[in-house]
């Protein structure tokens, strides 16, 4: 739990010596409470105070890094996204059984390797593979782990077995890739902890229900494990919502340390569309890692899109840089279009221009990430500001004919914009919807 300035003040030397750069210890305490300063600025802090303040400054949900590409999970700070941005988007993991056979597994590997999609400028993909020990045979499990580690070198791995011998056999193939060893439980804890400590990897722990899970977590911590991932055994959507809400509330509101860790969620279903729907519940309701049984392209597109939506900053819409973008082989005879710097708007419009195969100049104006109509209604995408932007960006040097194509929804601006621009500029009203752009552009070419 975050400490108040007064609580922190109690632990400071109270000499007001100013060595920290602040006039009083209290002023410094306030800065610490606002997370704008760090304790090491005060040279006179007692060891005890350092320990106390250090523990209080720890994030209530621990951050853990997985995989060769360093995917961070955990470190969430709120229950609702309108309070503050959700921090670390939950990776999607494909579950593979070690009994599926080399060919089927080869196909899974290929699917993972080609899972990347570009969504409003972000590259999103299936980041993890979970290898499940179905065979009970350590040698077989290890061989499959090796096949996946070699075949999908960029993916992070989850080694899913409750048999320490299997983990022991497999981990040599991937210990340097920051895998998650999943499968510690009340019975095998000692052996699993030993491996995790030796190989310095995160440990996933399983116990049915939050009482048992808290006990197990305490024990693992007591044995020196710091990177823990929790599985409360929630498998139905109801259990997921209820238990993950309890876990997050306990960690954030009650500073309950045993549950202050990321959560792993297994949502496998035979019906792939239903699996997607259940996975969506995990994305919204606090799962940190989601393990699915299949990754058809249509399904990952939907899940990764939802994840992107839920994890956007509610205060700052996704934006692109203000400038004039060159699309295709645009030259001085190519049309010049304008729109706003809201990522969604930019990528939709850009996509349709690319579809048209007509090279264009696309002027993107900074309106703090608002859509065309929202920016217009907010007074940010209006004749005066557009005209200033076009002049400052020296658009007239790029095109021979001074002609600017305006989004159809703001056609009302065309007259006043032409006046403001002057200098022989002509304003052309484009179509309303971007999907009409290809026909419009081809019609003019």
């Amino acid at each position: 739990m975050a400490l108040s300035g007064v609580e922190i003040f109690k632990h400071l030397p109270k000499t007001n010596c100013k060595k920290c750069g602040y006039p009083t210890c209290l002023a410094f305490a306030m800065k610490l409470a606002a997370l704008q300063e760090s304790t090491d600025k005060c040279p006179d802090l007692s060891e005890e105070a350092k320990k106390f303040l250090g523990a209080a400054a720890e994030p209530p949900i621990k951050g853990i890094t997985l995989g060769p590409k360093g995917i961070k999970v955990g470190e969430e700070t709120v229950l609702s996204r309108h309070e503050k941005k959700f921090v670390n988007p939950c990776p999607i993991a494909l579950n593979i059984k070690d009994t599926e056979g080399a060919d089927a597994i080869g196909k899974h590997i290929a699917d993972v390797n080609s899972s990347e999609i570009d969504r409003v400028g972000q590259m999103l993909r299936v980041d993890l593979v979970c290898i499940t020990d179905e065979s009970g045979d350590p040698a077989k499990f290890a061989a499959v782990v090796k096949q996946v580690a070699d075949g999908a070198p960029n993916a992070g791995l989850i080694l899913n077995s409750s048999n320490p011998a299997s983990i022991e056999a497999a981990i040599g193939h991937c210990a340097d890739k920051k895998p998650l060893v999943y499968g510690a439980n009340a019975e095998n804890l000692d052996a699993m902890v030993k491996i995790a400590k030796e190989k310095k990897v995160a440990l996933g722990i399983y116990a049915k229900g939050l009482d048992a899970l808290s006990d197990l977590s305490e024990k693992a911590k007591g044995m020196g494990i710091t990177d823990i991932v929790l599985d409360s055994g929630a498998r139905t959507a109801k259990e997921m919502v209820e238990e993950y809400t309890m876990i997050r509330r306990a960690a954030l509101k009650k500073s309950f340390k045993p549950l202050g860790f990321p959560v792993i969620s297994f949502v496998g279903r035979d019906d792939s569309t239903l699996e997607a729907a259940v996975a969506s519940i995990g994305i919204m309701k606090y799962a940190s890692i989601i393990v699915v049984n299949s990754i058809e392209k249509w399904k990952t597109l939907a899940l990764l899109t939802l994840r992107q939506n839920i994890y956007t900053d509610p205060q700052v819409p996704m934006q692109v840089e203000q400038k004039i973008y060159k699309i295709g082989d645009a030259n001085e005879n190519s049309p010049l279009l304008i729109t706003t710097n809201f990522s969604l708007t930019y990528f939709i419009v850009r996509g349709e221009i690319e579809n048209s195969k007509v090279p264009c100049w696309l002027a993107i104006m900074n309106v703090e990430g608002l859509s065309v109509l929202t920016a217009w209604a907010a007074g940010k995408f209006v004749a005066g500001s557009i005209s200033n932007f076009i002049k400052d960006s020296e658009a007239s040097k790029l095109v021979a004919k001074k002609e600017l194509i305006l989004p159809g929804y703001v056609s009302v601006l065309s007259g006043s914009l032409e006046d403001k621009l002057g200098d022989g500029w002509k304003v052309v009203v484009g179509p309303r919807e971007a999907n009409q752009l290809p026909a419009f552009l081809k019609g003019r070419a």
């Binding site: 808290s214 509330r249 569309t273």
Partner: protein, 313 residues
């Protein structure tokens, strides 16, 4: 350190709204806590789905969803009965899309005829939706409300610019009302206040916060709905306690994801499944934010969401 279930207590409760007539009447809302947290609140009624039909053939729907209604969608009455008898619809939502001046510009009399035919084809409750055209909706919904008297339909959508006529018609003919505002907590509350100031019982309102599709601003709707629900339950604001409606079909089925062929975008995968999952996940997102009543289109998406709700309850 023993684990103690961190329970929240809620001051308020969502109104329960019953509509339809006879033994097929249904109820939504009534919960006194945030969505699906039944360890700390009671959820007497599950979220329901109304299946959308139209007064004109759905020529503007993409293939994936249009094909699901081949052979019935030429006739609204046939289509309605198919939804009730073959798809097990608990509610049918008739959108009078053809009354829009930019579409077939059908008249209020045409709409009355359609409403009457549909009502005689089904006994589950009916939701009557206008085309979204402010002035025309006022005319059309007034006439439709009279034609549907006695069936306790849900009528909508009343917006800030046209609510007066629609509210009057709903009062006179004993219907429930959808109050739609544009993605803003305060505007939503304001419209509820305006409507109740006309003497309309607030317990008969369902609020449409304006839904969006997955990938197209759904996070705005999600957060606006979460805030409306918190205002209702935590702050106990009576003007925010109406149940929530999300009419997701039009937004979902106009996205590129629901219509672009796989040949054009191989990285997006199979088209049919893509449209269905797009509608399913848009719906699951809305119910997690507190939606009580969904309006949906594709039978497979509807089936998926019904299964999901059964798992959640």
């Amino acid at each position: 350190m023993p684990f103690v279930i961190p329970k929240d207590t809620y001051a308020g409760k969502v109104n329960a709204l019953t509509f339809g007539s006879g033994d097929k009447a249904v109820t939504v809302g009534g919960e006194n806590g945030l969505p699906f947290l039944s360890f700390e609140c009671s959820i007497p009624n599950r979220p329901l789905i109304a299946i959308e039909i139209q007064d004109v053939a759905p020529s503007d729907w993409p293939d994936t969803v249009r094909k699901a209604y081949d052979g019935v969608s030429e006739s609204p009455a046939k289509w309605a009965r198919f939804c009730q008898d073959s798809l097990g619809a608990k509610i049918v939502a008739l959108r009078l899309a053809g009354t829009h001046p930019d579409r077939e510009n059908r008249s209020a009399e045409d709409a009355v005829k359609t409403v009457t035919e549909v009502l005689s084809a089904i006994d589950v409750p009916l939701m009557i939706l206008g085309s979204g055209h402010i002035e025309k909706d006022a005319q059309v919904l007034k006439a439709a409300a009279e034609a549907a008297k006695g069936r306790e339909c849900i009528l909508g959508k009343a917006q800030e610019e046209n609510y007066k006529t629609i509210v009057t018609a709903a009062i006179a003919n004993n219907h429930k009302l959808i109050a739609m505002s544009q993605l803003d907590v305060n505007l939503a509350k304001q419209l509820n206040i305006l409507i109740t100031q006309m003497g309309f019982n607030k317990d008969n309102i369902i609020m449409d916060p304006m839904s969006s599709a997955l990938g197209y601003g759904i996070e705005y709707t999600y957060s606006v709905m979460e805030r409306i629900r918190q205002a209702a339950l935590v702050q106990n604001d009576p003007m925010m306690q109406t149940p929530l409606l999300c009419d997701i079909g039009p937004n979902v089925w106009k996205t590129k994801e629901s219509a672009a062929p796989e040949s054009e975008l191989p990285e997006w995968g199979a088209l049919t499944e893509r449209g269905i999952v797009w509608e399913s996940i848009t719906a699951s997102t809305m119910i997690m934010a507190g939606c009580n009543l969904l309006v949906m289109r594709h039978p497979k998406a509807i089936e998926t969401v019904n299964k999901l709700v059964s798992e959640l309850i």
